[in-house]
Symmetry: C2
Subunit: 351 residues, 2 copies
Amino acid sequence: MRATLIHGPRDIRVEDCPEPTLRADTDAIVRVSAACVCGSDLWPYRGVSPTPRPRRIGHEFIGRIEAVGPRVSTLAVGDFVVAPWANSCGTCPPCRDGVQVACEHRAHWGGADENGLPVDGGQGEAVRVPNADGTLVAVPGVAEPDEALSKSLLALSDVMGTGHHAALGARVAPGRSVVVVGDGAVGLCGVLAAKRLGATRIIAMSRHADRAALARDFGATDVVAERGADAAAKVRELLGGVLADSVLECVGTAESMDQALRCTRPGGSLGFVGVPHGDDPLPISVLFAKNISVAGGAASTRAYLPELLADVLAGSINPGLVFDAVMGLEQAPEAYAAMDERRAIKVMLVP
Amino acid sequence: MRATLIHGPRDIRVEDCPEPTLRADTDAIVRVSAACVCGSDLWPYRGVSPTPRPRRIGHEFIGRIEAVGPRVSTLAVGDFVVAPWANSCGTCPPCRDGVQVACEHRAHWGGADENGLPVDGGQGEAVRVPNADGTLVAVPGVAEPDEALSKSLLALSDVMGTGHHAALGARVAPGRSVVVVGDGAVGLCGVLAAKRLGATRIIAMSRHADRAALARDFGATDVVAERGADAAAKVRELLGGVLADSVLECVGTAESMDQALRCTRPGGSLGFVGVPHGDDPLPISVLFAKNISVAGGAASTRAYLPELLADVLAGSINPGLVFDAVMGLEQAPEAYAAMDERRAIKVMLVP
């Protein structure tokens, strides 16, 4: 089969790889119908995170179950499934607490499982899925999704659940004002999540007309192009003299965290989901004085999949709109380049 | 009148000072019946915070209203009142949000009000209170509290409300496991607050027999003397293999924050109220990976005073037990020394 590997900075290749086989009783094999490139895949692509040796890449995929091990009980061959970006067993204490990202038996897409066996990346034709019951979520009543539905299902693997996690971390609720820092796929899904949770005033920060337009489609009431102190002043002006109750940090840089802190009112809440890079950007003296609560981190999208999936199937949310490009798997190198150069918000790859 | 000043490290003096007078229409004058020394007063006492020039000190006091300005509407001469450690106007946006510590018109005990006029410290015979309506809380039905009640009322000025703030930041609720880092007056009040909020498993960290005993009186089910990784292992053992849902950080050092983070389960909540000193101790990568939420900071004890006061008057909580020494105001230097040397948990000063 064909699958994507990263060999080093800006060196993405699609290569022949062995077909996956069941290796444990709790495994499933998924034939991938669509995968995608994540903003976090761009960190090794840009060389910010090291790639000491070539490895399989990709952690978001949907597809059909082709085989299951004898101890898989909730899934069957033929089921169409969404794979969350984080593999999880579903039974350890963190999984029971809904914090599947801290699963004690987690396998890593493109890395290894807890037995040291290699695990396929998501950007390929097929994937061996350890901990299948705890990880995969079957899509009821869907034989073969069309492209629009595929996009929204694929968004549930990571970006929509991550935007939702940011909104929960920021305590978004009806009546609370919201600022979203970051206009990538996660930030845009954060806008959609805030709208879904009942926020009526949602300020998106964007300087790109296409992303700003999608933010408005998703529920943003205002778009702010300013940065830094000017952006905070604009937020204060828009909100009638106060800063925001809830701020979603969806980038992961020190600058974006600073921007988020500047926009949060005293006693407000900051939800952060941008993968942290660089120095610690959480100045405790600011949190202390302003009483800003901080919550978020890596999103356990597995925990949110059932409720978000129901909304996708009901047509009440359409997070798949963040995919503004569809390419064949062989075009993976171009997909990375397009996202790196911000020519695309998010690219779906079809094997 | 007599009042306490700090002149520099370990240099506390009680001196003659002018009697306060009403300076603004919203002022009140309070004749202090009891004040106390705060753990945070020890930072300048120890020279960790600078004292560039002699200044009045103390921010916790109770007493009787002796005079009110013409625009004071909720208080009357003769009322017995509790003064929260943070002065607040009660009407600006942060005050309306219950974040009085971020009051836009805040005056500072021992410092100045927003007009630049000096404000008395709490450790003296009388205090001019700017923003009297927004700051002081009258104690209904109490003409002159006895010593035990005085202690509990005085605890509402800061330490009990601050412990409560830590517990709220840590999302303490029935059924959640709790660890309290810090066995000072605030940490002990954090134990009491956690018990009051319904926690049934409360682990206090202490190496002092007297403080551990009081922690148990306040509701601690376990006391851990270990530190660092050993303490976290002990917590995990006590909780049957998992870390705590809710952790209260009540010290303010990098070490105590590290201890608190080590004891928090993935997805758990850390409430912090220790005044931060030194380097930023919030490693965002740990918060991200473990999904630990962080909330707290300077406590708006004014917001909590009505409900906590009701419980004190009903006899259902007795936070005044944290005062294990009572001294005359003239003994203020000895009160600081006793707390600095940890010979006393908290000292009440009676003018």
